[in-house]
């Protein structure tokens, strides 16, 4: 059974993105009305808008939160002024997506622009390189030309060479990719990637290399398996999002529905719930989706996800994005 509580968004136009902070008690929203709002969850369980400001340099498409260890603001939500810590100004084209790296990577931020470039920024900090898997990033392309092969690329970072190398291209995904996200890995021996393309895809990547700790010179080889392909939306899927335990995937599609997916103990995925707004007539604005995002030539990057790493060639080491 579901219960829904409405929250007056106080935005004058529709919303581009919503993001929760690390604890789930604070939320950021950005909208077409060119403003960003911050919300706090009060003791009664109500969302209260505690800050709002207009952005002056164009629209904001995405918002995301840093890990609280890097934040020096008060954790009680009492403060009412958010201080702009840094601006990242080297992208001349729009930034399509932005995400912070997992805390273990130190303070790093990955952005991808409409021009098809992924940039990674790092705050000089002690990086803890003691990890189980080499850092990985997945990049998806929304190039509508389905003849040009797989649209999802997996890059891996090698600590020895300080370089990123493409280790895998998912050939089963040939339609433009609009969103993708790694599931938080809680005790699994493989990586789980959710992809929003013309349908919902769930891909498992199982590293076949046994000992990945010391021998950093060789890159991982993955056994790629498609754990699920679902056409329930019947139309383009725009967004996928995992919950904290990596057990539930939420997909948002052009049919105006949000669907929740879960796997049973045999790792078989199925849709457990469908949520829709009523008075929806299933008329999708199909014409606008593929066409206007077409970037001539370059494989425009639709976006990215979970783990982020330092890309030596980008040569923008000095930016310190503290949020």
């Amino acid at each position: 059974m579901f219960v829904a509580k409405s929250v007056n968004a106080e935005h004058k136009d529709l919303i581009h993105d919503v993001s929760f902070d690390f604890y789930g008690k604070r939320m950021a929203t950005c909208s077409s009305d060119q403003s960003v709002k911050i919300w706090d969850l009060n003791e009664d369980g109500e969302w209260v808008c505690t800050a709002s400001w207009k952005t002056h340099c164009g629209s904001v498409w995405k918002v995301t939160w840093a890990h609280p260890e890097f934040v020096s603001g008060s954790g009680n939500g009492i403060h009412s002024t958010w201080i702009k810590r840094a601006g990242l100004v080297d992208s001349r084209t729009s930034v399509m997506d932005v995400k912070f790296a997992p805390k273990i990577q130190g303070l790093q931020l990955a952005t991808c622009s409409a021009g098809g470039v992924v940039r990674i920024y790092e705050a000089p900090d002690v990086m803890n390189l003691n990890q189980l898997h080499a850092p990985m990033i997945a990049v998806g392309s929304d190039d509508p030309n389905s003849g040009s092969g797989g649209k999802v690329f997996i890059y891996e970072f090698s600590a020895n060479t300080h370089k990123w190398t493409k280790v895998e291209t998912l050939l089963t995904v040939t339609e433009p990719v609009h969103d993708l996200s790694f599931a938080p890995n809680l005790g699994r021996s493989y990586h789980l990637l959710g992809i929003a393309t013309k349908d919902v895809r769930i891909i498992t990547l199982k590293p076949t290399k046994e000992d990945s700790t010391q021998n950093q010179s060789s890159l991982s080889i993955f056994e790629v398996r498609q754990a699920g392909q679902f056409d329930d939306h019947g139309s383009t899927v725009w967004r996928v999002c995992w919950n904290l335990t990596g057990t539930i995937l939420a997909s948002s599609g052009d049919d105006g529905c949000v669907r929740l997916w879960k796997a049973n103990y045999l790792d078989i995925w199925k849709c457990i719930s469908t949520l829709r707004g009523e008075a929806v007539e299933n008329v999708t604005d199909a014409g606008t989706t593929g066409g206007s995002l077409q970037q001539s030539g370059a494989t425009g990057s639709g976006h990215n996800t979970a783990r982020y790493f330092k890309l030596a060639p980008t040569a923008h080491p000095a930016h310190v994005p503290w949020h």
């Binding site: 579901f2 968004a9 529709l14 919303i15 929760f20 929203t29 948002s252 949520l275 707004g277 009523e278």
Partner: protein
Amino acid sequence: MNMVSKNSGRWSIKDPVIAKDMHGVIGGISTLMVFPHKAHSEAEKETQSKTEGPVKMYQVESFSWLWSRQARKLINESVGTYLSLQAAVKEAEPDECKPLLVKKCREYRSMIQACVEDVNMSQECEDQEEIKACGQLLYKMELILSLIEILFIDIKPGGLVLGQLVMWIRVHFTQCIEKKNEAMESDHPHLHPAYWEAVYGAVLQGRMEGARQMLSNHSNADTDPFLSMDELLRKMPVYQVYGGVSVAEFTVRWQHWQSECERRLQEGHFTTCHQLQTVCKILCGNQQTINSLIDLMDTWYHLMVSTLLFTCPTVKLFRLHNAAQDAITSIGGEQRTTPLDNVLLAAMEADTHQVIKECQQVLDNTWFTAHVTDLLCHTMGQKTGQKFLPELRESLLLDYASVLVSHSSLWQVGILYLDHCGASGIAMSQMVLQRLPLTDDSCVHKIIQMASDRNFDSIIVGVCRIMGRRALSQGRLGSAIWWGVRSRDAAFTSHLAHQILHKYVAEGRFESSQLLDHLGPAMLLSDTLTFLGKYREFHMMYQDGNFQDAATLLVSLISSKLAPEYFWPVLLLDALPLLKSEEPVISAEQTYELMYCLHNLHNHTCKRGKQGPLENEVASSAFIEKERDIRLALSNNLARAIIHEGSIEN
């Protein structure tokens, strides 16, 4: 809260704005925030589309019965039983397991019973619909669990199960008792409309004593038919598992008894009273008669047990599903079965997998499936054909635990369950402990305690770091250092120690001196912190009048270069009273050290003075004034010390 309407897994939100294009983002474990979305492409077109109403977001959460007040008690009590079960099973011998499992199963059942009582005592002000639904849910849970106990866990030797099933029916179907009481309380019991129904009901449940008691209250109790019936009822053999009578012998006796019943029926003992005839037909195992009384039994399982009681009392466990199918057919076939019936049927077919699957359909809460699967898993052990059980158990326990951890007051219970869920459980525990909002100190300490019990060092470090930064931003330096030390973050702690030292230089006093004095070995985390701790020690020694040791300490602090440069003036100023004291406390060697320090400081100050304004104006100006004094004191002390040491040697 708006309730969202349901239609078999599909839910809708009534809102024209969101109806056009809805996106959802998951926050936490199961909270979904849906919002009316506009794509980049649309926004870039700069179409000034007017929204058809206020823009609203919706926080959608799955609501579980587990959040209700009644469930709370069940959750808190059952965790104790669950944990003791896991511990006991690990240690027990294989043949000790069964009584242990039976005991735990009964504990769960008694907890459910306690909940039922709670529900019955509920106040009128509470939602009656909810109370009723809750009551039904608990009834179903207890019904299923007690059957599982009989059919899977507490299997008697020989697999003879009817005795337990009869008890099961008696406990869950009490209409006959109610009718009996109703009839007996009236003036003329035998004339009460419920009288004979009560008698039939009692007989069908094998309550022969009760039936005999009622019949003895009939006005015609002294007549032949009644006396005959009384004798038959009295003499019915009942199988006792540990009664010492073998199955074969019992069967002979029972058949003998039943043929006696048939003989008396045929000889017309009961022709004068057709109700007694009916009773006798029941005793003879006449299927038609028994079926005709279905209204008194309500369900196919009651029918099945009653039928077996008079047709095959030595029925074995593996034959049960046939009897079950027959009973279902009698009541009208599979179309009449409910999901609850499916669970019971699966149990009678000894199909563990199906039982669990059907339970998930009947009960929407994960408490039951998790605990039952756990019990079944321990019961079945490593039996062939049940290989799926351990994985299924872990998966269901994880599901249950993830429901608990997403609740602000049940997360601790959730973590206790996660301890027994393998690698995934550990990972989820760590994630939960990291993501709990650090609201107040008691909460933080609870989190740290739980993390340290499980050796989650990285989490403790992380939490302490966050608390340290929070304290710093609130200006509580002492508290920040305390957290910094616990987080073993040397860089952060050094930074804080420097802050405190700077403050001392500026203001001349220490805040949070208590905390600093009790750092103990933790101060070795960073050099600056060590210096701070030692400097506090120096203060203590000085205040205690222990000048000799204080002086030694002070000089060692200076010579060891532990002190940061900006602090040297302070140290030298501290040395001044010691230099001027009546008794010489600073030796010649030590005086040389101090002079060297002063010399260096002087040079640095001059160099810096040429470059720009000095940092700590207050301290530096105080120092410059006193510099002459210090030089004088040093020289005097040196002279004094040399003389003093020279004389002692002689």
